[in-house]
């Protein structure tokens, strides 16, 4: 369980609060969609979940470990994977297999175990045969798949996806959503930032954010049935798109 309590965050000490007392829980095996207008703090929130950012006040607790506890940071980052919006920002290897091996290498796993994870994760995202390819020769969709494989190789319990289908064509979107669904069905908790209503149809729960606050959580039907809420945060279009 990831428990966020009264989380406040500012990018600059004297700057405005980007997160203003957010409290939310992400249970193991649950698929949670995070929605809200641009700049409302969704990405800032998920960066707290794997200890990339630390609260100005409040707490973030992953399976009983506080992200502010330096000794727990490595384990927290193993348990909570993070798939960034721009895959180019996430790929660190000179080849596909080396990139997938980066995370397990940081866990100091034996080379044989790393190789086995690399093979399994590339197969999971349908990229077997790409091992020796340089990342800059991949298409946008392939880079996205590679960034997911790189996170899966850490064997996490939770994965936070930051708009994983952005800039992808219909086939690419479908492929990524199928992978997310299959991971969730396998017991992985998913935290999924999305703008597109069709992307969050499979979510168990939707959390709505606006201007640094968590406004409401509910099932997709409850949230998309609340026309007033969606209009207030400028997502009325998402409701129409969903056909509610």
């Amino acid at each position: 369980m990831i428990r966020v309590e009264n989380l406040v965050y500012r990018y600059e000490a004297a700057g405005p609060e980007c997160l203003r007392g957010v409290s939310v829980e992400f249970a193991e095996g649950e698929h949670t969609a995070l929605i809200g207008p641009n700049g409302c703090g969704k990405t800032t929130l998920i960066k707290h979940l794997n200890a990339l950012l630390f609260p100005a006040s409040g707490t973030v607790c992953v399976d009983g470990m506080l992200t502010t506890d330096v000794a727990s940071v490595r384990e927290i980052r193993r348990r909570v994977g993070m798939v960034f919006q721009n895959p180019d920002s996430q790929i660190v290897g000179m080849t596909v297999e080396e990139d997938v091996a980066f995370g397990p290498g940081n866990l100091a796993l034996p080379p044989a175990e790393i190789r086995s994870r690399v093979g399994a994760c590339l197969e999971m995202v349908g990229m077997t045969g790409f091992e020796k390819r340089a990342p800059h020769t991949l298409s946008g969709g392939e880079k996205r798949l590679l960034s997911i494989a790189g996170v899966l190789a850490m064997n996490p319990r939770y994965i936070a996806f930051d708009e994983p289908t952005a800039y992808l064509d219909a086939v690419g979107r479908k492929r990524i959503l199928a992978i997310i669904r299959s991971l969730n069905q396998g017991g992985m908790a998913i935290i999924h930032i999305a703008h597109d209503a069709s992307d969050i149809a499979a979510a168990d729960r939707v959390a709505v954010m606006d201007r640094g606050l968590l406004l409401r959580t509910g099932t997709p039907s409850e949230i998309f049935g609340d026309a007033e809420l969606l209009t207030a945060i400028g997502l009325a279009g998402a409701r129409e798109e969903r056909g509610t």
Partner: protein
């Protein structure tokens, strides 16, 4: 698109050698090539030719490896040819320059040294996958951890630099296209106009490089990277019999080269 990464897949003896042996060989070759006597020049040239043959490099590939430094090699040759004192061979009057016998010999010698170095490095990168190259450097530096040299962090830094280059080139292409789409012209106009266009490209490229570096650092942290913490890699090197043979050949070359040098002195 600019082609990066010289590695050419293959199954030659050079490809199969342990990268550590190849790295040590390039370093050793770099040491013996400087100060080489005429007899050593013959020996080292023969060794280089044998290695080029073992790597199955075509004359075109040898020329391709030297192409990026052609201007530099020509400059070295000309500077020595024209500015070395000695017995005149040709006067370039009315210019206050003359070609001397010593200048010609010195120019050829220094140019050969640098060309040899470039070729040795090219053979290493042509026959060694970048990942193995970085892994090899890391393994060779590992014993220096005791004196505070963080070999693993250095290897990660080299790998990041290699990863960063194509990213920067992609960004450069994107920015160039975006500016050309809005009327920027990088090919015509005077020097001032072209310089302005280049500056207009350089500033956003630099800013983008800083932003990308920040993002990359964050992504590395997100995947558990912590500076100074022990880490492992996919690389597993085994020192085979062929590596031992290559190492013995290298040792013989160095000993023979030094022997010839002592004999000549």
């Amino acid at each position: 698109m600019i082609r990066l990464g010289q590695y050419r897949p293959g199954d030659t003896l050079l490809h199969r050698l342990d990268p550590r042996v190849k790295i040590v060989a390039v370093v050793a070759f770099s040491f013996v090539i400087f100060g080489a006597t005429p007899a050593e020049i013959l020996l080292l040239s023969a060794f280089l030719a044998a290695v080029i043959a073992a790597a199955r490099m075509t004359p075109e590939q040898v020329m391709e490896a030297l192409r990026p430094v052609t201007f530099f090699l020509a400059l070295i040759f000309l500077v020595h040819l024209l500015f070395t004192a000695g017995k005149p061979l040709l006067s370039l009057a009315p210019l206050p320059l003359r070609i001397t016998r010593e200048g010609l010999v010195r120019g050829l010698y220094v140019t050969w040294q640098f060309a040899g170095l470039v070729l040795a490095a090219a053979i290493l990168t042509l026959t060694t996958f970048s990942y193995d190259l970085v892994g090899g450097i890391e393994r060779l530096l590992r014993p220096l951890a005791g004196v505070g040299i963080p070999s693993q962090d250095l290897a990660v830094m080299i790998a990041m630099a290699l990863r960063f280059m194509p990213m920067l080139l992609e960004e450069y292409e994107r920015l160039r296209m975006a500016q050309m789409a809005r009327g920027a012209d990088f090919t015509t106009g005077g020097l001032v106009l072209r310089s302005r266009a280049v500056v207009a490209l350089a500033v956003p490229l630099l800013l983008s490089a800083f932003r990308r570096a920040d993002e990359l650092a964050l992504a590395m942290e997100a995947r558990g990277y912590q500076r100074g913490c022990p880490r492992t890699t996919l690389c597993t090197f085994t020192f085979a019999r062929r590596d031992l043979g290559a190492f013995a050949a290298l040792a013989a070359l160095v000993i023979a080269s030094l022997g010839l040098r002592i004999a000549a002195s």
